[in-house]
């Protein structure tokens, strides 16, 4: 199971890198969103997938699943949500201001 998920993470990272390397601003932002999902999955896999029963809810199981990765992911999801929202607004403002969402057109500052 871990192997499968790891391969899935690899696929997600591939997709994300492809998107990140494109010139369209929105694609780049989608790329960062997928990238963060990939790493969340990886965090979960690294903690080991479902090795025991649910933690905290009872004391009579033999082993429990590690709850820490899930807490980490929850925090990371919230952060990546905030950053993605910010990026989207930023992209919209930039589009409004410059009339372009092509990263080639947004290169550098003219007066240099």
């Amino acid at each position: 199971m871990e192997t499968l998920i790891t391969i899935l993470v690899g696929v997600l990272v591939t997709v994300a890198v492809y998107l990140l390397l494109s010139r369209n601003l929105i694609r780049v932002i989608l790329g960062t969103a997928i990238l963060s999902h990939a790493v969340h999955l990886l965090l979960m896999t690294m903690g080991g997938l479902k090795k025991g029963s649910v933690p905290l809810l009872g004391e009579n199981a033999e082993s429990y699943t590690d709850a820490l990765p899930q807490a980490l992911i929850l925090t990371a999801i919230v952060i990546s949500f905030a950053v993605t929202a910010f990026l989207l607004v930023l992209a919209y403002r930039t589009f409004k201001e410059t009339g372009s969402d092509d990263l080639d057109a947004l290169r550098g500052v003219k007066d240099e």
Binding site: L20, L25, V28, T32, L35, S36, V39, H40, L42, L43, T45, M46, G47, L68, P69, L72, T75, A76, I79, A82, V83, F86, L87, L90, A91, R93, T94, E97, T98, L103, L106, G108, V109, E112
Partner: protein, 494 residues
């Protein structure tokens, strides 16, 4: 009373939230923010002094003993940096009062500055790797807002690069954390250090260490500084100074923490890498600093050179060198803030950022000119100013470790700094004045006073290096002996 340890993060955070509600009342916002900075500074100084008598302080949140809970740890290194952060922030706020403009003040400028400071202080004080990530993100989100606030075209375009590169580096940070958790099963820094020492730093762990090196280098601008000059020259002066003084320093702090506490077993790999990167950073920064005619670019490349210089201390990793790095780190936070303020003030006065379009400023603004002169000497490391002592110790450490190439490059970089700033000084301050008496822009007192304060600080830090020597040597001693840190975190009963 150990709860005090969380105050350097909580006071700015609450102040930030509080100030959001005071949006229309600019005057009250200013008073509250100054009081809050002073209060935090007081707490930080108190913590620093308590560490000297009681050893490393820690605070386990919710009473969860390490390695299970999250905790804050304050040793001399982090406390010193918190104190410096608060001093620099206070003076920069003074500058912002007179320069940032009504539009910014009404658009939550002060709250965001406080969120940034909360993130910075949190990063310095935390003892947990994931918590470090969270504090980094708090700091970065605040910095995203600060860099875009105002919404000029340049700012928007530059901030896209800044935000995307930081999102990517945060991704690498999480990746490294995931791998590390999968390998050793803990995220508490002291516990990590123990486990890595027990298991031996095998190639796998070294690779994870190198991923951390990549992450923090991106944040600190060590070799991977390509994003830095553009982003730091876009926002208003006060914000640029805040970035130049604080943001890269957090990355440097994290590098020191991780590579002296956790991944210190394979110095021939990791520390050599840091050394090579530091050398390349100094060369690249030096070339950048003398290549541009734009004051803001020159100043930004000076940040890059300093990053390289400070990390020479970590690369050679002797106690003297680390001491030097800490002295230089503190000096650099103050002097870079001053340098950015001076550059911004020059641009404000002349309306241009090009060196060749300014001339003879010292005739109209003598104090500004002399301050620039002092800054230049201090950055180059002329005694008795504050840059001197750090350079001496780093040099001594490099000689002890036999790293003569790094030593040569480190001191050669000083010449590049001198040349780049001398060029600004001679072009902009000497020569015939271009400003005739009719359109002489008056220099507001509110902009000059913060610069003078920073100037006094750099002189005071140079002359009074003896005064902070106790703290710095203790900080270096703790960094060089991870056992002290581990012992305090795992067994300290406070």
């Amino acid at each position: 009373m150990n709860n005090l340890l969380v105050m350097p993060m909580v006071i700015p955070l609450l102040t930030g939230v509080f100030l959001v509600f005071l949006r229309p009342y600019v005057r009250i916002q200013r008073i509250v923010s100054l009081l809050s900075v002073l209060g935090t500074l007081g707490v930080a100084v108190y913590i620093l002094n308590r560490i000297q008598t009681e050893g490393i302080l820690k605070l386990d949140f919710g009473g969860w003993l390490p390695p299970y809970g999250i905790l804050f740890v304050a040793d001399s290194f982090s406390a010193l940096l918190v104190v410096t952060t608060m001093v620099v922030t206070g003076i920069l706020l003074l500058y912002a009062f007179s320069s940032i403009g009504k539009a910014h003040e009404n658009m939550f400028f002060y709250p965001v500055v406080f969120f940034l400071v909360a993130g910075v202080n949190g990063s310095f004080l935390t003892g947990d790797l994931f918590n470090l990530f969270v504090c980094f993100e708090v700091m970065l989100l605040a910095s995203y807002v600060l860099i875009t606030l105002g919404g000029r075209k340049v700012q928007l375009v530059e901030s896209i690069k800044y935000v995307s590169i930081n999102v990517l580096s945060s991704w690498f940070f999480l990746l490294a954390i995931a791998y590390l958790y999968g390998t050793v099963g803990t995220l508490n820094m002291a516990h990590l250090s123990m486990r890595v020492a027990e298991a031996g730093q095998d190639p796998l762990l070294t690779v994870i260490g190198i991923i951390f090196l990549l992450v923090f280098s991106l944040k600190a601008g060590l070799l991977l500084y390509f994003w830095l000059p553009g982003s730091y020259s876009a926002p208003p002066t006060a914000v640029a100074a805040l970035f130049g003084a604080l943001l890269t320093k957090v990355g440097i702090y994290a590098l020191f923490r991780v590579f002296t506490l956790i991944f210190y077993h394979e110095p021939e790999i990791t520390h050599t890498m840091i050394g090579v990167m530091a050398a390349l950073t100094m060369i690249g920064g030096g070339i950048g600093a003398i290549a541009y005619n734009d004051v803001r670019q020159v100043v930004s490349y000076n940040v890059v050179i300093a990053v390289g210089f400070i990390l020479v201390g970590l690369a050679v990793s002797t106690e003297a060198a680390i001491q030097g790095s800490i002295y230089y780190l503190i000096h650099d936070m103050i002097i870079k803030a001053l340098l950015f303020l001076l550059a911004g003030t020059m641009i404000y006065l002349t309306g241009t950022a090009r060196i060749e379009r300014m001339s003879g400023l010292i005739r109209n603004y003598p104090i500004l000119g002399w301050l620039f002169f002092i800054t230049m000497l201090s950055l180059t490391g002329i005694p008795p100013l504050s840059g001197f002592i750090g350079k001496v110790y780093v040099g001594q450490g490099a000689v002890e470790a036999g790293a003569f190439v790094l030593l040569g490059l480190a001191f050669l970089s000083s010449i590049f700094v001198l040349y780049s700033l001398l060029r600004i000084f001679m072009n902009c301050f000497w020569g015939e004045t271009i400003i005739n008496e009719d359109d002489d822009v008056p220099l507001p007192k509110g902009m000059l006073i913060p610069c003078v304060l920073f100037g006094l600080l750099t002189v005071a830090l140079g002359l009074g290096a003896e005064g902070i020597a106790v703290y710095v040597s203790d900080a270096a001693h703790t960094l060089m002996n991870p056992d002290i840190y581990i012992e305090a975190v795992m067994n300290g009963n406070r």
